[in-house]
Subunit: 248 residues, 4 copies
């Protein structure tokens, strides 16, 4: 296979947002799929391949810098001449919903490790490539999108460690947007404000079980693609997304 000109990378590919984003971006770019477990990325890679796209899956712990190093080394090896068009950081560590006094230090480390440290490693790997892609005159501005949540703007009771991670992530992303925007890289943060309609959460009832009361992962993916295609004279830095029935 000839090396693709541009590619995308998605960190945190499971059965929800990451999978949908990867599949949508795969209609335009070869996509590298990073996930902690092969069982997470393998079905997505298969789906992309069946649809005529190109994907490589790489088992990666986003919170471990050497694992992230290895992932990008693998990408460079497989697609040596590819420029990075879009990088999506969607890795999540789950969260502990507990009274603060029932939390243990590892709850905080787990949250920060993926949300803050993981984003840090991922951004350090991808931003140099995204800057290089600016010079290659891509169709769309090279883009870094980070998946946030309500907990990035609101520290609710019993969400202390989740909020810690998401707040930190939002702060980092804002800083990156302000530094790298003027250099041509679009850095955006999403505030996913609602339950996501994932395969594994079908039984969880939110918003009274009304149709479209959970966020469709495909709809999230369309929004990510839209962010990627925004004209550089009109970049969105922070995008809130919620079901029409969601209280906010």
């Amino acid at each position: 296979m000839a090396a693709p000109t541009f590619y995308a990378v998605v960190a945190g590919v499971g059965s929800g947002t990451g999978a949908s984003v990867a599949q949508l971006f795969a209609k335009s770019y070869p996509v590298a799929l990073l996930a902690r477990q092969e069982s997470s990325w393998a079905p997505v890679a298969d789906a992309i391949t069946k649809a005529g796209g190109t994907a490589i899956g790489i088992t990666t712990d986003a919170a471990d810098p050497s694992s992230v190093d290895a992932a990008f080394a693998r990408i460079a090896q497989d697609w040596p001449n590819a420029k990075l068009a879009a990088a999506v950081y969607n890795a999540n560590a789950g969260f502990a919903y507990k009274s603060f006094l029932d939390l243990v230090p590892s709850d905080l480390n787990t949250s920060l490790g993926t949300a803050a440290n993981g984003l840090f490693y991922f951004a350090q790997k991808t931003l140099p490539q995204l800057l290089a892609a600016v010079d290659a005159k891509p169709q769309h501005p090279p883009t870094l999108i980070v998946t946030g949540a309500t907990a990035a703007i609101r520290g609710s009771a019993k969400f202390a460690t989740f909020a810690a991670g998401k707040f930190a992530q939002r702060g980092i992303t804002q800083s990156l947007a302000r530094e790298f925007g003027p250099r041509g890289v679009h850095v955006a943060y999403t505030i996913i404000d609602g339950g996501i309609d994932t395969p594994w959460g079908k039984d969880r009832v939110v918003n009274g079980g009304v149709a479209d009361g959970k966020i469709s992962p495909e709809a999230i993916a369309e929004n990510y693609w839209y962010l990627h295609t925004q004209h550089r004279s009109a970049f969105t830095q922070e995008l809130d997304l919620r079901p029409f029935v969601e209280k906010f």
Copy 2:
């Protein structure tokens, strides 16, 4: 002409954002163009017609309820069976950049009159129609988009009256989003954070005159269209838009 099934209305159609939004929405819907002066809407109506679309222009003072009444009566007369797919409130009164002590009460009234009162009249006319359109199973969720600015989230020195209007407008729009979102109407506010590349502002240098350092009205239009097409499980309430080089 058979009455169109769905139509759009744009209040505040001049040579910048409003014109571009109207022309883009006109690719999908007949569009009613509201502007204070015929010289504002006439070229836009012409452009739409030449491109094969349908438009009616109605000279309207958005800050005058009887004028707004008359405008919607005219629309109802011309397109008696049309449902409202999208309403865009883009009317602006300009602003006084002055020390607070040099402002006069009419500066405040002018700002509030268009930003707050005008939006109020427009929303009272359009929301019942947008609710009715929900029942008509449109392709996209019926949408009300209001054009905001940085002054909606930041009261800068010497912008007291402009901020008053834009803050008020944002407050109203949030309230509408929370009331009418659950009923199926997408209500969104945009934070236009930067100079717009209007025909009449070509000589104004911003961001050092760099290419794409002003916001393209066509790019704003694409964003408005995108908001209109968002899936109802993933509505954006507030969209910031700024040039890649903008300080924020």
Copy 3:
């Protein structure tokens, strides 16, 4: 009586916040009490006088510029040499809690008239005096405090007109803080986030009726006095206040 050196003025003196603020500031300054009805300010003036303070009450419609003019003319006549130490804008028009489609234009005008226009008139009268007071080397920085509410930062469903007024007021106040802070005047906005324990609201149960579940007007007054006494190297621009049990 010799004219006082410094005085305070409170607009919106009733039985709640305004009365408590006036009584507390009256321990340090003669206080001018502005209220729409004499029955509002008269008991407060009496209480101040009985406690050994000085007060004048002036029946004033804060939303009517000529009434505000007359009030300050009266103050200038009574206290010709007094400098203005502190001005508190606490006027409120009440609010309509209604579906947006049940509101009428006068609901909006009532809200904006007091929250935005009234503040505008009051600030135009008091800021020149506060600036003059800076030169008079007062004990505390001359201060303008505006009473806000949750509706200044959140447009809730069915609060469209109240939010319009409070958002506008917050925007104006921010702008004033940025313009007049560097000239030595402390301009602060308060976000009163909870029910106030007013005499007329004793029967209204909030937060389950728990002790201190409503905000004590005396506590608000202490906070206003504290804002007034802040050192100019450490001004607070926006102060949130809520009962310990309040959800937020």
Copy 4:
């Protein structure tokens, strides 16, 4: 010495904010002083003792849970029957002002370690004591105050790691306020928005060198004390403080 009834603890006692806060609180409570180095807390302890107060200094690394454990064990040993009236988390790790691509992972870990992890350990040690103090009917609501900065609400270019820490800290503090406020503990965050007038920063010119153009540590201390004394019907959750001349 008889064990004091109530005490205060300040983590991060150097020559600026922490020292001033400790000295002011020492007028009302014995104060435990935590700092990484004895040379930081020793002069403060001396000053407090000379002024007639009581202080113990404990060399503590706020980012190290075992060091924090040891500090509180020491306090419990010295003041076995004391209740905790106020806890102030003022530990700071400094920050790296660098292009994101010049940062290394340890920059992030240093920032998070003190701002997020350190606060976590400190809050886990102090909140149970503060809750216990609620039952002891103290004069003022038991209080946890955390020192924040502009970087807690704005991720500026080249401040990625500092913003990460301060954002995380703000998220945690909000969560604690919402969980422990209803239980009677006042949890507040301060946004210190400006340069502080520390002994070691005398040569640094900010705001043109104007008098009071840097925040006085004594003024910060007064604000912290004020937060501690707020009535529980009117708690402030987040307090911004900036010099009158500061741009914001």
